[in-house]
Chain length 355, copies 4
Amino acid sequence: MDFSSDNASGASREVMQALLAANDGFAPAYGADSWTLEAQARISEVFERPCATFLVATGTASNALALAAITPPWGAVFAHSDAHIMGDECGAPEFFTAGAKLVGLSGDAGKIAPEALRTALAAFPRGLVKQVQASALSLSQATESGTLYALSEIAALTQIAHEAGLQVHMDGARFANSIASLGCSPADMTWRAGVDVLSLGASKNGTIACEAVVFFNPQQALDFAFRRKRGGHTLSKGRFLAAQMNAWLNDDHWLDLASRANAHAQALAHGLRQIEGVRLPWPVQINEVFAILPQHMDAALKSAGARYYDWPARRLAPAFAPGANERFVRLLTSFSTPQRDVEKFIETARKATRG
Amino acid sequence: MDFSSDNASGASREVMQALLAANDGFAPAYGADSWTLEAQARISEVFERPCATFLVATGTASNALALAAITPPWGAVFAHSDAHIMGDECGAPEFFTAGAKLVGLSGDAGKIAPEALRTALAAFPRGLVKQVQASALSLSQATESGTLYALSEIAALTQIAHEAGLQVHMDGARFANSIASLGCSPADMTWRAGVDVLSLGASKNGTIACEAVVFFNPQQALDFAFRRKRGGHTLSKGRFLAAQMNAWLNDDHWLDLASRANAHAQALAHGLRQIEGVRLPWPVQINEVFAILPQHMDAALKSAGARYYDWPARRLAPAFAPGANERFVRLLTSFSTPQRDVEKFIETARKATRG
Amino acid sequence: MDFSSDNASGASREVMQALLAANDGFAPAYGADSWTLEAQARISEVFERPCATFLVATGTASNALALAAITPPWGAVFAHSDAHIMGDECGAPEFFTAGAKLVGLSGDAGKIAPEALRTALAAFPRGLVKQVQASALSLSQATESGTLYALSEIAALTQIAHEAGLQVHMDGARFANSIASLGCSPADMTWRAGVDVLSLGASKNGTIACEAVVFFNPQQALDFAFRRKRGGHTLSKGRFLAAQMNAWLNDDHWLDLASRANAHAQALAHGLRQIEGVRLPWPVQINEVFAILPQHMDAALKSAGARYYDWPARRLAPAFAPGANERFVRLLTSFSTPQRDVEKFIETARKATRG
Amino acid sequence: MDFSSDNASGASREVMQALLAANDGFAPAYGADSWTLEAQARISEVFERPCATFLVATGTASNALALAAITPPWGAVFAHSDAHIMGDECGAPEFFTAGAKLVGLSGDAGKIAPEALRTALAAFPRGLVKQVQASALSLSQATESGTLYALSEIAALTQIAHEAGLQVHMDGARFANSIASLGCSPADMTWRAGVDVLSLGASKNGTIACEAVVFFNPQQALDFAFRRKRGGHTLSKGRFLAAQMNAWLNDDHWLDLASRANAHAQALAHGLRQIEGVRLPWPVQINEVFAILPQHMDAALKSAGARYYDWPARRLAPAFAPGANERFVRLLTSFSTPQRDVEKFIETARKATRG
């Protein structure tokens, strides 16, 4: 019963087969190979628009490099206070941007409230030299609370950002899960809604290590090859990154994987909602379930071998503040989560109500 | 006939099998998995000493992060003018060190002359505030000219460095080829000869993407986990890096692969030396052959489908300066180079002498 | 009636005379002159302890360089949300620290609440690699709200910080005003209360441009000369910085100047408190008065030629939120503020109540 | 007899008077004062073109900030190997550019040989991602050898640079001395000869601390105010920088001061040339004399109280390599060098020939 992270899962069989297949023969190094060209073409196709695409091996690199491309060192990047770039990347965005400031915004369920963005922007008057300059908005789709912005919500935030002269980045570490959940097109969730550059994550959803930085306006990517190289993120054998991406995108494999992960989360949520004493603070929209559990239930689950993380209670709205005998936890599912683990988890929790 | 780069080859069958095997089930993320623990233990064993080991996916990351750990931003890093860190990493060492200065040293055949190091150090008096402070020496073993330092040569340079208060880094992008060629122990070629931190490369010699930063004094590595994370170089699914390293080190597989690559280079060199008009400027000690070819031979080889790079003539000593009708080229072999390609290359070259 | 900033004032007569006197003859460059040695000795005397002192020309340099000396790039610096380093230095701390994260803390009247510090520290567990590491606390004495920490309050905060392994910086841009107000010794307000490094500001209080970075533990300053040089902050003719500092410290001149500035602020505050419709949100403890004025009074004052800044209402506690017809303003006095300007300001404000 | 540095001199009487005069009353902070506006206008006038001008307090800041404005972090800056930015600023250019690479070029007498520039540029092919990109040329006028480029030499170098897509910076730490020596117009020596941005130094020639970064194309300066602020180089009381600059430029005061300094150097050189055993390796064109002295003469001069620096013999062409009984020294004069010191120096040297 491993619900610790979607990073705890491996890669799909299809992706591993593609890796093996890519191992044949010789290929030009540093991304000049045919797999990489194919991946770039495939991504432009998926997004219905000529994109400038760069593959890297980690989500942190993808986010930090993308942000560095759209903000100067004296820039301010606005993101939700709980965003991955704010507190889970050990300052990588600050490192790659040469010291830009990340400004945390509030909002329920991990989603930036438009008013919070407007208020924050008002505190950064353009041209006031003593302050860093508002330069980028970073949206996480899905959010760190496992929730999703509706397309109209994305559009509303990007419009505020663009009107203030900002560029918009989307952290799509769970992009596939988001698309699978919303059922919209990748184009609709990104550039048609005002996103300028996307960190498209595949690592958490079926590959071993593969992420793409996708610029919807290739003009913004002119320097990116240098940034990536200088960051040590240009793999010498680029075919092995691209082969993963190609297999992942092929025949909607990425969406199949994501749908499976999402369905497990729905099953978990459905089961938990029926158990007395369990509270779910946020809607379950992707492959993450956040739950407030009675302490004895948490103990029983862990005794039974369930793995998952405690989560910071400060992220909860006051109405959901855990009591002294409650624990706030995060459960993550993946395409490879066994159905029986979901069932066993629910069953264990249900029995523990009597604890 | 691909002699363009050892990065053009794929991974060994053993390494690919290990990747597949590692894909089973769940594993803790970010390097807390058992594969990673095993890799760390194996490396300490290989080097006969408790090491602090960190896996990353690229050689540039490995070099730049290692240097950042041993030099302050106001430091000077001494390396051969032709070293990979000097001109092939787009300024990654400068980026990761926050602006340290790389000082190029001269020396025949890619090897730093001790006198060049002494002279350079004399120009950086300790404590003179207007100058950056001599902080690190970086040795490439093997060098960018495909040559090797003898153990005594390494010891002589590290002694000069240590006496001046420097730390010593070894760029071991082709470490396996070097060990296979010298027949010495990894410990003898590193810490016993005065090396403090090693970039141990596996990517060019049989893996898909795997490098290790190895600190022989773990005290120097206390901050390294933060540097790596902040650089975006901590893979979420660490087991896939470690599984490569483990298979690579297992049963001297790394040395077998390297020996094969080296043997191909010896065969190439042997064949070329017997062809009139071909000159080899440097001894062939690993899997690289540098040759000065008559222009028509170069043309014939390329017509026949041979792939290899022209190399900058400025790296040659005056005695080997290419004439107007000569080309200076680099030929790289790998474990997967077909023997028939070596033979065909020699045969094609031989025939072209009559051109 | 210029109450815009203490930076709008010039230097004292004594300081200018010292500058003139220092202009005689030749002196070693880059801080090896006798004036600089004297300044260093004087500061150790003033602080009753051997200090390592470095002069620079701006407060931003002083703060940013001091912070860079005590935090790694992956560090977190805690400061009040309204602190100068947070929003008034265009990201200089991020630049000099190579990307450390500044974490804003709340607290009434510009003063960090101990509980806010404790809560923030709890969110940065030591050794958790995905997060930046808590490394420094920066206290502003006086605060950006013109208020002062009591010595016991400083000690309480530094104790929390030290227990968590942090170093403590004090931004003393208005250090002289603070000492003059509290009547304590410089040692009591700094190292005896747990401060590790001080940015001692003289520019706002009688010099043309002079600040000192003072390390109470000289061991922490071993690299500082390089940081300062590399930042372009080592003046070639160091005697002109030091001559200012020496004149400023001589015969308690610095405290005389500060006392004059403080007294003007007290007079302003006293006068304003007696005027109906004027509200003072915070105690007036140094040379700054923050006031909520009726809009027509604000207009009348500006018509009469008074210069001062509007201040962000978001810094006020809810109880002091300005109404639609109110303006929140900052009034700064200096040693050179004419007494008649204070009187005229009060008189103008008083008359405007009838407006 | 202080010939150690022009930084060892003080400021001129006129400049000090201007400082005193500027101390009256209140002035807007951070460069919004009338003195600064005047300085900006004066510089545009002096250079016969609308310039974007920014004042700072040190030459290192001026150089490093100017370079940061014209090179990306992955850029290469070409300069003479002996240039001040190469070895005398503790890596400030690397710091402010976020890690650009400085590439040293050779050339007699401190002047870059056009062929050296062409050869170096050829080694940095545009767009080759593994290498940093050629981005800027920095010329020192005058050079660190006290020599001057003819206008045609500047034009030849800037043409090569511009054709390769580089921007051109001029380090004008001794700009006034250069203009006074060449007798040309400031415009002729800068933008008319292809210079894009100038570091105009006044500190070494009559002010206490004042430098200007002058952009001849103001479009390149759009971000400069943020860079300067973030670097801690925006003085709060800007009037005191500008007052120096205004007095310095007024009535050709800057050229008078420089001419005096130059004349002292000519007198020194004239005297030394007539003394047996003394060799001058380079033409004396500004206020610097480099000389190879017999050891006993050097000893006699120092005994007599002369102050000057030994200089690195590696900078000399082989023909001038000092013998075992010779010392290579640098003598600097300034506007305030007493004529009698020059005479005494020559007299002492002459007497020592008999030593």
